[in-house]
């Protein structure tokens, strides 16, 4: 299974039209086949980063399904629709992802993903993208042993994040080394504490902690707060 992750820099005046095309036409077009589905439609929460940025994640049964769709967008029956999407954004940056070995999400039943635009509550994800200065495999293993395992042991009342998926960029389709965590925020008051905390995780005073250990492999990552649309197939 392959996941297409796209960050769209949308033209602000056309933001509603862009979302409408995704909801009413794009998702429906994919639903006519069996090998591709829009999975998440996420707005970068205003106040936490760039304005008018949208992240979409599309799942494919395999790479051939991605190539077929991409060629339909460039030259086939989806080219007109693709042109209209293209005209309502400045650019889009995509990458092809596969789940890391320990990711909770490995395979999706594409047939079970909603395609009818049904509405639901909103949820917010913290998408963390890390760029290690050590071998990528070591970083992914660190996330497994020192982050994923630790986070699962936190009692529900103190839990901030539910790590739903972890991906790495497939060779040649983006940046290497890079890995991505899709983490659903399950407690907004805990998020508030995180954002307003002045606690400094000094590696000299937190020996053995994930924050200290992580610095041995990377010191650059980016968190994005992404809010699902009310109709995003998964949320």
């Amino acid at each position: 299974m392959l996941f297409m992750h796209e960050t769209h820099k949308v033209i602000g005046r056309q933001a509603a039209a862009f979302e409408a095309i995704y909801r009413s036409e794009w998702m429906e077009s994919l639903a006519k086949g069996e090998d591709a589905r829009l999975v998440w439609y996420l707005n970068h929460a205003m106040g936490s980063g760039p304005a008018y940025q949208v992240v979409t994640i599309t799942a494919f049964s395999d790479a051939a399904a991605w190539e077929t769709l991409a060629q339909r967008m460039l030259h086939g029956d989806l080219s007109e629709l693709h042109s209209r999407l293209d005209a309502s954004r400045y650019e889009v940056v995509g990458k092809l992802l596969t789940p890391v070995y320990w990711s909770a999400l490995q395979e999706l039943d594409l047939g079970a993903i909603p395609t009818d635009g049904r509405e639901h509550d909103l949820s917010v994800f913290m998408q963390d993208t890390g760029w290690p200065d050590a071998p990528l495999d070591e970083y992914i293993e660190l996330w497994d042993h020192d982050y994923w395992h630790f986070m699962r042991q936190i009692p529900p009342e103190r839990m901030l994040l539910d790590i739903q998926a972890c991906f790495q960029v497939s060779h040649g389709s983006g940046i290497r080394p890079e890995a991505i965590l899709m983490q659903k925020i399950v407690n907004f008051s805990t998020l508030g504490n995180l954002l307003t905390s002045v606690e400094v995780h000094d590696p000299t005073t937190w020996p053995g902690s994930y924050m200290a250990k992580g610095l041995e492999l990377r010191d650059q990552w980016e968190s994005k707060l992404l809010r699902t649309s009310s109709w995003s197939p998964l949320w």
């Binding site: 190539e67 991409a70 650019e91 071998p135 990528l136 060779h171 040649g172 389709s173 940046i175």
Partner: protein, 233 residues
């Protein structure tokens, strides 16, 4: 055929080892199978941009072949190679590209050389353009009808020709984005371009430089020199 285009930010002290990893490991390993071939290994010419940048272009038969290759790098027989490369480059930025309708062809996939025979290095001007929103198709058409033909015309400002014209596939890089791999056949026009003002007639209404501004005004040129062993020169 698809092309995996990568720009590598190489660790300066490890530049020779980095090149060796492509010449003596990546290229021959790919040659053992039928999914992928290294096509070009370039160095960004010192003095023309960022230091210690290498550009590689790898051909894959199709997306299924690319995926098999990617899985080998992720967890198969090329995982150790990828891990070693992590220590030889700060990062690499890749994209998967497909030829434009009017692009010249490199020939058959099976005819791509796989032996490290040495040649004289060749200079390329790699141009990457980002058309305005909704203008990529018009740009591609105009680039084929007007720009490409102008390169071959008598009195052309540049003595170069397009070896391969590509666009980034949706979902595997930035879109819209077009890249032209242009082989220089003479350096003198390049030196003129770099050291003299562009002639006014080249900028007048009706010229490519003028009219194409309706379709894009941002592009980036890279001066790339092939390694002596690069399969394609």
């Amino acid at each position: 055929m698809l092309f995996v285009h990568e720009v590598h930010k190489v660790v300066g002290k490890a530049a020779a080892q980095f090149e060796d990893a492509y010449r003596n490991r990546w290229m021959p390993t790919l040659a053992e199978g039928s999914d992928a071939r290294l096509v070009w290994y370039f160095d960004l010419a010192h003095g023309s941009g960022l230091a210690y940048r290498a550009v590689t272009v790898t051909a894959v038969r199709d997306a299924a072949a690319w995926y098999r290759l990617a899985e080998r790098v992720k967890s198969g027989d090329l995982q150790a190679w990828g891990r070693d490369l992590d220590g030889l480059q700060h990062d690499a930025v890749g994209r998967i590209m497909t030829p434009l309708e009017w692009s010249p062809t490199l020939g058959s996939f099976d005819d791509i050389p796989t032996d490290p025979a040495e040649h004289e290095p060749t200079m390329y001007m790699e141009d990457t353009m980002w058309p305005f929103p909704g203008k990529v198709r018009e740009y591609i058409e105009a680039a084929g009808n007007v720009y490409q033909k102008s390169l071959g015309a008598e009195g052309s400002q540049m003595q170069m020709h397009i070896e391969l014209a590509l666009q980034t596939m949706p979902g595997a890089g930035r879109y819209p984005e077009v890249t032209l791999m242009q082989k220089l056949s003479s350096l003198a026009p390049l030196i003129r371009l770099l050291t003299q003002d562009i002639p006014s007639e080249v900028l007048e209404p009706g010229s490519w430089m003028h009219e194409a501004l309706e379709l894009r005004d941002q592009w980036r040129s890279k001066l790339l020199r092939t390694a002596v062993w690069s399969p394609f020169q």
